[in-house]
Amino acid sequence: MSAAVQETKAEAGAPLLQADGVSIQFGGLKALTDFNLSVRQGDLQGLIGPNGAGKSTAFNVLTGVYQPTQGEVRVGGQRVNGWLPHQINHLGLARTFQNIRLFRALTALDNVKVACRAQGALHPEGVGLGAKMKGAFINYRDWWRALLLTPRFQQEERELTQQAEHLLEVMGLSHRRDEEARNLPYGEQRRLEIARALGTQPKVLLLDEPAAGMNTREKADLMVLIRKLRDDFKLGVLVIEHDMKLVMGICECITVLDHGETIARGAPAQVRNDRKVIEAYLGDSYLESHGGAA
């Protein structure tokens, strides 16, 4: 396995997110087989494959929504099999959703604030009993601060607002600050999801079809933005994308899934010319979706 990891990326630094021979099975159905992945800081990787290839399943395994039946997932070097999604998130892994899942009745600002707050001092590192007790205590103290409206709490709230406002600004959503999330246009909802994910102060960001439903122009903007986010926030980014152009354009390394199996991995040029990829992916859905243009 490690050989496979080795060949993907040469950049220094320990992998922030690592999947090692991960398989998952639903009943008799193998949704993902022997999936390997390694994301380091500064990476911008793509995960592609035809419909039902297991891309979102891979995301769900990485973020703890599903438990792998085999193999292991490591975030920041920590094995996270059996962890809950929020615990994994605290280790620095944030995501967006394919079908947008904002807190619809909350304002844009509050959406981001939820994510900002769930982080930091509230959740001390570690998973042992000691850390748990400490976490419980901090939480308890924090509730009292909120209920008593202490100056400290008020200060923290202001800081949160600042942080969230800053993120909205980065994503170009400042003008939507007090708008309920459900009232935002589609593209802005996508961006708000990214802002929210950034609010959790991630080290690795997983984007699930961030460009879905956008026009070419918006997609181009988004590509630029994703790059910028990676650099400004010093992230590793993993993108699931349907649009080959987008992936080929921004990703340095692409993993191709089909029927849960990794059929190719490498630089865009390399993947593009892979026979298996053309067969499985470009063969049908790519050609179909680009049939009109061709």
Binding site: S56, N60, V65, F97
Partner: protein, 306 residues
């Protein structure tokens, strides 16, 4: 040993009724995801309809086969109509609204019915429990030993009817056009409507069916325990609801199994442990089942698609 057998029979008889009432909860829940809290009270109204019919028929007539059929038919049709009106005026206007809203109207209707039937207005029998006329002449169907174990004809009849209804329902849901429409509505009624399924009609029919079923179950219950009272819906309804959840609400055979299991658990707690703790054990059992199987015995918690 004989006592064990007798408890088993008692428990099954009680469980049969729970199961039948639970079927109604499960059907409505299946299509609307609504806990129809008025279900037990609809049942109670059905029993009063049967009560009135039985008296109208007179002593000789009502214990004949035809008489029994008439009593059941009147009660079931009457309740189907009641169910139709309740759905039409209390639930349908709220279908696109948050689910809890319809729950509150259900509670409102439950209050109106159960308290309404307690009024001594003259044309209602009043708040006191009344004896239900013997529409099925009780006959010992099977006697073992010195009456150590007795099985009555109505126990067998009820059980038979319950099984028949369950099989019929299962057939209806999985083998008929209407059943397919029901399942489609259950899956997603908006999409079903887009596919040309008359959702309103399917839901109304489901309600009528479940109400008629409630009336039938209520009559069997009244025959079994020989009484009828305005509050019977509350007690039976709650237990039947528990039964439906134990089996996995929305699951037809689950409701039946849930009902039988609940009936047996209660019977054995009373028979062999402390009768004072019956209700606590029943609910404790429910919680235990849910902790081990969060969707009930047969239900599956739909893994949310992420």
């Amino acid at each position: 040993m004989a006592q064990l057998l007798q408890h088993l029979i008692n428990g099954l008889a009680a469980g049969t009724i729970y199961a039948l009432v639970a079927l109604g909860y499960t059907m409505v829940y299946g299509v609307l995801k609504l806990i129809n809290f008025a279900h037990g009270d609809v049942m109670m109204v059905g029993v009063y309809m049967g009560y009135a019919t039985a008296f109208a028929l007179g002593r000789d007539m009502r214990s004949s086969l035809l008489g029994v059929a008439v009593v059941f038919a009147v009660a079931m049709l009457g309740c189907a109509l009641l169910g139709f009106f309740i759905e039409r005026f209390a639930y349908r206007p709220l279908r696109e609204k948050p689910r809890l809203t319809a729950l509150i109207t259900a509670i409102g209707i439950s209050f109106a019915l159960s308290y309404g039937f307690q009024l001594d207005l003259g044309f209602l029998p009043g708040a006191a429990p009344r004896a239900f006329p013997e529409v099925i002449e009780p006959v010992e169907w099977l006697v073992i030993g010195d009456r150590d174990v007795v099985v009555w004809n109505w126990q067998v009849i009820s059980f038979g009817i319950a099984v028949a209804l369950m099989v019929g329902l299962q057939y209806l849901v999985f083998r008929t056009r209407f059943g397919r429409a029901m399942r489609a509505v259950s899956w997603d009624h908006r999409v079903a409507a887009l596919m040309g399924i008359p959702t309103d009609r399917v839901i109304a029919l489901t309600f009528m069916l479940s109400s008629a079923l409630a009336a039938g179950a209520g009559l069997l219950y009244a025959i079994k325990d020989t009484s009828v009272s305005p509050l019977m819906g509350l007690y039976v309804g709650l237990k039947a609801f528990v039964a439906a959840v134990i089996g996995g609400i929305g699951h037809v055979p689950g409701a039946v199994v849930g009902g039988l299991v609940l009936g047996l658990v209660e019977e054995f707690v009373v028979g062999y442990a402390a009768s004072t703790w019956r209700d606590a054990v029943a609910f404790g059992f429910l919680i235990l089942v849910l902790l081990v199987k969060p969707g009930g015995l047969f239900g599956r918690v739909a893994a949310e698609k992420v």
